[in-house]
Symmetry: C2
Subunit: 295 residues, 2 copies
Amino acid sequence: MMDLKQEMQKRCNDIEKALENALPKQTEFPPVIFDAMRYSLLAGGKRLRPMLLLAACEAVGGRKEDAVDFACALEMIHTYSLIHDDLPAMDNDDYRRGRLTSHKVYGEAMAILAGDGLLHHAMETMAIACEKNPSAQTTGAMRAIAHGAGIFGMLTGQVVDVFFEGQPLAQETLDFIHLHKTAAMIRGALEAGAILGGADEKTVQTFALAGEKIGVAFQILDDILDVTATTEELGKPVHSDEKNQKTTYVTLYGIEKSREIAAGLSAEAVKIWKQQGEGCAFLLALTEYLTDRKF
Amino acid sequence: MMDLKQEMQKRCNDIEKALENALPKQTEFPPVIFDAMRYSLLAGGKRLRPMLLLAACEAVGGRKEDAVDFACALEMIHTYSLIHDDLPAMDNDDYRRGRLTSHKVYGEAMAILAGDGLLHHAMETMAIACEKNPSAQTTGAMRAIAHGAGIFGMLTGQVVDVFFEGQPLAQETLDFIHLHKTAAMIRGALEAGAILGGADEKTVQTFALAGEKIGVAFQILDDILDVTATTEELGKPVHSDEKNQKTTYVTLYGIEKSREIAAGLSAEAVKIWKQQGEGCAFLLALTEYLTDRKF
């Protein structure tokens, strides 16, 4: 049995190093935008999405080196989405990952542009990787990530979230938001990783499905932790859903039932990893950890 | 001698049709984001960038059909940049192309998301085109467009523009802004078109250089028209540079000298098209038109 925490830390360190090199240094002109992009991208965090992408690639027999550009791009897209979500016109949050949000440090205009810049640079990073090696794998991975992030994925989840702000949600709407805003990118991470590792179409779809289950379970856990954890544990304000009168799994079902639903989704993903065999040992351990975390 | 206006209108109509099909219809859920994206993308305009991309592809012997997805993506990126530039935190403009700007119609949050959505969908559209046909041409074109739009191109031009807002600019800074904010995307359009058409590396670089000259000349003309044209002619408020105390070519050199500089750049591009031969006849006529337009 591996020491999961230690293994996660090691992989997280590798991702931090790759991200550090994936953006231009702050000496470029004009410094402010590169500063702002680095401030948010290098603010720590679990690096869950790139970790899942790289693990999926290795699980199907691929090489991590072929996937690292795509993993970095995925984290850039995730970070851009956080910067824009935090904007005054959106959630108007002052803290993220234990530090001031981008617009509190750089102002609203630069925060919008820093977010845009990260999305641009994710696109450019993937395009360069594809041009270096134009193949079904590289272009397929780029498509999977773009799809998970885009107007049929994460972006639309955020739109619906903003659209219904302050209104009680039906369960179908909440499920739509969770599936799109959170799960689509995690699905995209596992799908892209499996594609880059050279998996066949059936395996790719199986990984994508596991990603969807993990993504929804992860978001339900987030809803629960907003009620049960402390600000120090999460690095962001708790009870924000209550403050914003948000419908969540907790308000619909209560904490215990929500835990059960998350555990059920997690079990479905775990079953997939067990069927896929030994190569998925890390993905299995990570799945159990992510869907049963305390913060 | 072709009838340029008629030829431009015909090509513009083709691009309109392609753009109309490039976005999901407004019946998708949630309708508001698809409405907002279509509102700005289908608001008319010269369609200069996609027109240049398609013309470059055909000029080197390529097929328009292989380039149309990239042309649409380019126009989506251009439109996203206009939506975000117009935001209250940026230029705070109420009108664009003769109609209310996105945030005046849909509110600030949805305008940010509509811009994001267009950038996402440009990335996804190009990724799908690359996956359908993974080649040096498709991936190279995507890289050229991503580079022209990104943190070494258009985005950084906008950052510097915002950064120095309200301050007088040195000529070097103004040149940096013009080269990045406007010319980089036009350069990217011609570069991507030539790549998609199968041109050799030397020809691609020549087309890119012509794009840079046209782009800067085009922006200088824009500065001039802001002083000499009417709101009705431009479809946006004139004298906005004066109102915002912006340094432009006109404030640095006056109208006549600015016209001379633009004409000189245009002549350099025209010389390139003449050297490239008959295939570039439309590009040549378009270049002369764009850098000597009255509005």
